[in-house]
């Protein structure tokens, strides 16, 4: 089992992800500089959090054009498991591999705290060790995590069961007070139609050791390990409905 953690200029949670999968989970792991044109045999790819290209234009907007994203798009199209965390989520949206876009947090404040999320779907490679409805405590750290999608896209995400994580209150209900950034429908994480590309704003890699306050993030990272080992959820077993990915395939609103 081999992980790849992609490093863009400005990624600053790359070492957190590397530490979690390499040292805590104990798997072979490579950093991949964004100029690379190969995943070097990785079984799963993590796009980590941070501020790729300083978020100078828009979060994830410039990173989307990095050479490695061509490779990630191809890997995703073939059914390979890809996890986007925070800025990695934003990059996947800009690349057209996931729907929607992130707006500035409704409060305009950078939010850095532990939040509660509910696992909505256990049928993805990153949640198959969870139960649907299970509550996880994970940290967030973002200023632009306010998930937005046009109404028709939002309806499609809900209808297809592509909402994977939702922010909830202490009782597990998706209420406004459980929503740290104003995300539509309390959405904290989604997947693509084929379910192999998953992204969330909270940081599971920072919740893998009890010293850090929560080990709930291990469920997400261990899930993909279970997926790879059993062969479940891969392109061969699920087939994939993923439309041709690639840098020039960003869907245009009509």
């Amino acid at each position: 089992m081999k992980f790849a953690v992609v490093v863009f200029p400005g990624s600053n949670c790359d070492h957190d992800a590397y530490h979690a999968v390499k040292h805590v989970l104990g798997h072979d792991t490579d950093f991949l500089w964004h100029k690379e044109t190969s995943l070097k045999g990785a079984d799963a790819v993590i796009l980590p959090g941070g501020f790729s290209y300083g978020d100078y234009l828009r979060t994830g907007a410039v990173a989307r054009f990095s050479p490695i994203m061509q490779v990630v798009a191809r890997f995703a199209a073939e059914g390979g498991p890809v996890l986007g965390i925070c800025n990695g989520f934003q990059i996947l949206q800009e690349a057209g591999l996931l729907d929607g876009a992130m707006l500035r947090n409704r409060s305009l404040k950078f939010r850095c705290e532990a939040v509660r999320v509910r696992v909505e779907r256990a049928d993805t490679p990153f949640t198959n060790l969870c139960q649907a409805g299970q509550l996880l405590t994970l940290p967030i750290a973002h200023g632009d995590g306010n998930f937005y999608a046009p109404t028709d896209v939002l309806e499609r995400l809900e209808r297809n069961g592509q909402v994977v994580f939702r922010y909830v209150n202490a009782e597990g209900e998706p209420t406004p007070d459980g929503n740290p950034n104003g995300s539509l429908d309390n959405i904290a994480g989604i997947c693509n139609e084929a379910r192999n590309v998953v992204a969330l704003m909270p940081h599971p890699e920072r919740a893998c050791e009890s010293l850090l306050g929560s080990v709930d993030g291990r469920l997400i990272l261990d899930s993909v390990v279970a997926t790879i080992r059993t062969g479940a959820n891969t392109a061969e077993t699920v087939g994939w409905a993923f439309r041709a990915g690639g840098l020039e395939q960003r869907p245009r609103p009509t």
Partner: protein, 90 residues
């Protein structure tokens, strides 16, 4: 850059990027509230956006317009949340 492009005249382009009307703009809302507290009660709405100035070598203003619109669509704006307007001056 090709020789032809290097020899082409310079065209100045302005790109205005704004959040779509359907998208909530928390920065614009905060600015509007500040203006109200400053006494500008007549300000009904503020939308914050981005403004870019590009200097482009192109054979014609039409070609510059085409290029800059493509640039705005691919990079400067995210069509999921933003709309853009391009103004080209010879």
């Amino acid at each position: 850059m090709s020789d032809a492009a290097a020899a082409a005249p310079t065209v100045r382009a302005k790109v205005f990027v704004t959040l779509k009307p359907s998208v909530f703009d928390p920065q614009g809302t905060t600015i509007a509230e500040a203006l109200h507290s400053m006494g500008y009660g007549g300000v009904e709405d503020v939308r914050q956006g981005k403004y870019f100035e590009l200097t482009v070598r192109a054979e014609s203003t039409g070609e510059a317009q085409r290029q800059v619109e493509e640039i705005a669509d691919r990079l400067l704006a995210n069509p999921v949340i933003e709309s853009y307007r391009v103004e080209v001056q010879p």
